[in-house]
Subunit: 338 residues, 2 copies
Amino acid sequence: MTRIPFDEMQSTIAKAFRNAGMPAEKAQICARVHTESSRDGVYSHGLNRVERFVEYLHKGWVDPNAEPTLHANLGAMEIYNGNMGAGILNALFAMNRATEMAKANGLGLVSLNNTTHWMRGGAYGWLAAEKGYIGICWTNTESCMPAWGAKSGGIGNNPFIMAVPRKEGHVVLDMAMSQYSYGKLQVTRLKEQKLPYPGGFDNNGVLTDDPGAIEESRRILPMGYWKGSGFAILLDIISSLLSGGLTTAGIDKYDKGSCGSCCQVFIAVDPLKFNTLEFVDHAINETIQQIKNSVPAKENTEIYYPGEQSLRTRKENMELGIPVDAGIWEKVIQLAKQ
Amino acid sequence: MTRIPFDEMQSTIAKAFRNAGMPAEKAQICARVHTESSRDGVYSHGLNRVERFVEYLHKGWVDPNAEPTLHANLGAMEIYNGNMGAGILNALFAMNRATEMAKANGLGLVSLNNTTHWMRGGAYGWLAAEKGYIGICWTNTESCMPAWGAKSGGIGNNPFIMAVPRKEGHVVLDMAMSQYSYGKLQVTRLKEQKLPYPGGFDNNGVLTDDPGAIEESRRILPMGYWKGSGFAILLDIISSLLSGGLTTAGIDKYDKGSCGSCCQVFIAVDPLKFNTLEFVDHAINETIQQIKNSVPAKENTEIYYPGEQSLRTRKENMELGIPVDAGIWEKVIQLAKQ
């Protein structure tokens, strides 16, 4: 397995982005977030997504120079136009702004319309937690999943993130509304394996754990069946209403790539505005302790809290280098050449 | 099937609550919400929950006279002590207060600590939507589900609600974190049926659709496996940190019935503070239209948006009367006798 040191990966990606027309500082920040995603094990939205992002820059689907502009200010809530800038930059701006508002008043909500793919949603949860804030955020997407009861796509997989700051390791949930991503289906199929649990319906409408059958039918399963379907619908509508931007149906019509002109919502709360640090630490740690004290389903296995495995992968990848697919890494190196 | 008119059910339940020591006005409001839950088809938390609520009043686990008191005011965020009052009354107060704050500033967040079971969480989503607001709310609960990877209970099923106002019928998601409730398992077992999809693990650790096997193992399944488990953990921690109240682990230790001294979070947003009514209607209706236009998984079936089936049940039950289990109805009549 090829492993690349963090700094080498970041500087290579940054060069690729500069070559595609991005100003140096913006390229550096986007490259950092892509690299951090790979570092934490979210390879699909880290290094592996660089080529597609460069393609979007070339097509003009992402404006490399854009900055978000204020659309409305309601005190505890601010709405920004993302101006089709890089989704990562807009999302970092929005969560940072939400934490500033939370610092002042306990609570801040920032929404974005007309933004682009934020890559790994968890990045903005980790950001809030790293700064000491509770973070909640979500995005809508183009349609990629059938609603419950349907066999053709109509809803987004609308990732939803919740994060809580903790000294010994933040607690971070980062989940899309589909049980598995198409990326996971592909990886599993290439390994000639089955999914751990059924991940969709085959062309005969039968639930299946065969990734290839689901890739063929495009009938990927919402997590929790009707629950994930309903959750995706509400996340979509609310992100649109909170930002004045496009719904999933609107993104489909706009048709400028994955998440082209999507909407996002960022909420930050300062838990120390009305709690002591002792209370906060106790609440989080007794919850983790209760989970850790449960009887494992399989002997000699561990029960993880959300975010714990990301942190382990992070440590390993910082020590040993970030594992890459040699072919993908070579492509990014080519994009980075002057 | 026995069917009872709305008004008769409400006044009977109100008498039962008055007999258990609740002031008349409070009893009337709680009875209305229980009746509305049964009217909308959520029988488990409507009429069927009256006897247990009366028991909690008798045990002193719910204070029939309590009013919420302000604990902290941060502008767009207010924190109240529920003082162990009736969960329904506290939750109505909190969502109403959040909508008032949203009316003033676009956004309001109200949290409750030290409150009690709110019965049907959807009630507060419907309330916000009925008043024209986007509503989001959730509660934590005592532990009733194993975390992912565990075979003993350690996390709550922490219902989560999102609601959006719509002239032709609000869009309302009301979901617990378990794939099925224990109530659903019981009902399915009594009918000698299987669950539509696996709902938990049996004593051998095998996923099963046999409700009795899950009731025995107590290994009910989080929706979406690891996803619902992680979501439940974050909802729990955040509700505690946003209100200064007990986590699931704390509720377990407190041990005053289901949801005794739990925490709840209520968020309301006025979508018309920064959008036109045309925009709001269009965003919601194009989303519903896109779902309705999908190809149904089974011929001649309909694809529903979240809340649509509740509304149909509501209409039917208002026309024909609310269906009741004759034995349960008789018990409530006895509780209502002077």
